[in-house]
């Protein structure tokens, strides 16, 4: 700046032509990136359009009645999704209720209390659980989990907690509870792994500050570390919930596939994803059956969007509560 004469060595290095070329390259690159960034929302819109137009016959015939009706009769051409919606929500929430304490406990243990030498190996093993295909979980559920549940856990629950309607009634094996348990095993690695990352990211100064104030290690975890990581942990839980809501194969294999809302967790049920997977290949009820299934897919899509949006809102509000980060 301020010096009008150009240093000669600069000119010898680059001609003016190549400078123009590089600017063009930048513009090209920018448009490529914009195109890439637009592709995903465009796909989403296309998907939404396909689902809506496919669901239209059922949507116009059953309207919102579809959501609350419990009748699913392909032969008569009457469809109601409530049992499947209920099954999806119930199994996912049950799985979350079991997986969250377990995952958080493991994550806290692995970041704060476990011997340093085992922290990484144990975390890696748990993360490997996420790599197992869900059909394998389904098989394991059928051949190992269900026999174990029907011979020991379910009878015990019925004998000891049978005064609750949810633990009463005939024991079939494939059931809402079995599906919830397999979902629990499947989402634990996600919640644990993300929570662990989040806990690891808490600055050590927070832990030290709490300890230096005379906190026990547990108090340091509960008063300083977990609150600091709260929004991240909520994110981890939502990730697990999203996975549970959409999980198809393992649930189909274990839930019993019956369009029914039963009080007992021992009873078979259905989930939205399982209905779609099971019935789409030969939608015996004709075009309206097929349309009803697409309608259900649209609902599943809506449920996951609503859950994720609610989660974002929650995270946003939690992190807004404090000025930092």
């Amino acid at each position: 700046m301020g010096n009008p004469s150009t240093p000669p060595d600069l000119r010898s290095d680059a001609s003016s032509g190549s400078l123009v070329g590089s600017a063009r390259g930048d513009a090209l690159f920018k448009w490529l990136l914009i195109a890439a960034a637009c592709t995903i929302p465009a796909l989403l819109l296309a998907l939404l359009y396909e689902l809506s137009s496919g669901a239209w016959p059922a949507l116009s015939k059953f309207g919102l009645e579809f959501i609350v009706s419990g009748t699913w009769d392909p032969v008569a051409g009457i469809f109601g999704a409530w049992p499947a919606i209920f099954g999806t929500l119930l199994t996912s929430l049950l799985a979350l209720a079991m997986a969250v304490p377990l995952s958080l406990g493991v994550a806290i243990y692995l970041t704060e209390f476990a011997p340093v030498a085992i922290r990484r190996p144990v975390a890696t093993v748990i993360e490997l659980l996420a790599a197992i295909p869900s059909v394998v979980y389904g098989l394991w559920g059928i051949f190992v989990l269900i026999p174990f549940l029907t011979t020991s856990i379910f009878p015990w629950l019925e004998a000891n907690l049978g005064f609750l309607p949810i633990f009463r009634g005939p024991i079939y094996g494939p059931s809402v509870l079995a599906a919830s348990l397999i979902l629990t095993v499947m989402i634990v690695p996600f919640i644990m792994s993300v929570s662990r990352e989040v806990l690891l990211a808490v600055p050590s100064g927070q832990r030290e500050a709490a300890l230096a104030l005379g906190a026990t290690r547990w108090e340091a975890v509960s008063t300083a570390i977990v609150p600091y990581a709260k929004s991240g942990i909520i994110g981890a839980v939502i990730l697990g919930l999203g996975r549970a809501l959409g999980e198809t194969m393992a649930v189909t294999m274990l839930i019993g596939n019956r369009h029914e809302v039963a009080a007992s967790l021992f009873a078979p049920g259905y989930s939205m994803a399982a209905v779609i997977a099971n019935e789409f290949a030969d939608a015996a009820g004709g075009p309206i059956h097929e349309s009803a299934l697409i309608y259900m897919a649209l609902l599943l899509f809506a449920v996951t969007v609503v859950v994720n949006a609610a989660a974002r809102l929650l995270i946003w509000r939690v992190s807004k509560g404090r000025g930092g980060r």
């Binding site: 927070q206 500050a209 230096a212 930092g324």
Partner: protein, 254 residues
Amino acid sequence: MSGPVRLETRGLDALYGDFAAVKDVSLRFPANRVHALIGPSGCGKSTFLRTLNRMHETVPGAWIKGQVLLDGEDVYARGVSPIQLRRRVGMVFQKPTPFPFMSIADNVAAGLRIDRSLDKSRIAEIVERSLRRAALWDEVKDRLGASAMGLSGGQQQRLCLARSIAPEPEVILLDEPTASLDPQGTQRIEELVFELKEEFTIVIVTHNMQQAARVSDTTTFFYLGAMVEHGETKQIFTAPREERTEAYITGRFG
């Protein structure tokens, strides 16, 4: 001229696994005075400081040999709880560590809530008194419920000071408390240190020799994990007995 000995170390080694970061340090810190620990980076002064409230052992693989006595009682003796010890020996760190999810008032009360079942008005009293002692009250009295993250770095550090004195410790350990502050914030902390020695015994680790000269009554020079020289601050800075001390304070190394 020195009062009763509040803190004392005898033949103290502080180790990480096989590595001795502090070797054979025997020191006495009389009550109600400011004691500065100086020395180049990695000389073991911070590690030494952390043995005094048993924060050292929270690092995996860290352990000590020798003794640390608080009012004549060995803090590493069997049955002594580091939790109780840390309520009597408070600490402020190099970087301000307010709890970001807590309000200003809750930050100050953090050490009180952990154990005792004090009622609300008593906690509010202690919060106010601690903030006044940390010379922060006037700046935050209208926003005690606001997040601590809205404060400047210097204010955050005074908040941490208020937090550490709220439970009424006997000793305050300061680990380079002004290292991340601007000159103004540094000056406030130094003034506070000078005032707080009325009530507390203060041990301060510092990189800044002028700071040690300004605020402390005694100075200890550490080098390569060993205590090289210990004495009245005036003597250390005007007539050091050891050649290495002189070399360090005159800026020839470190």
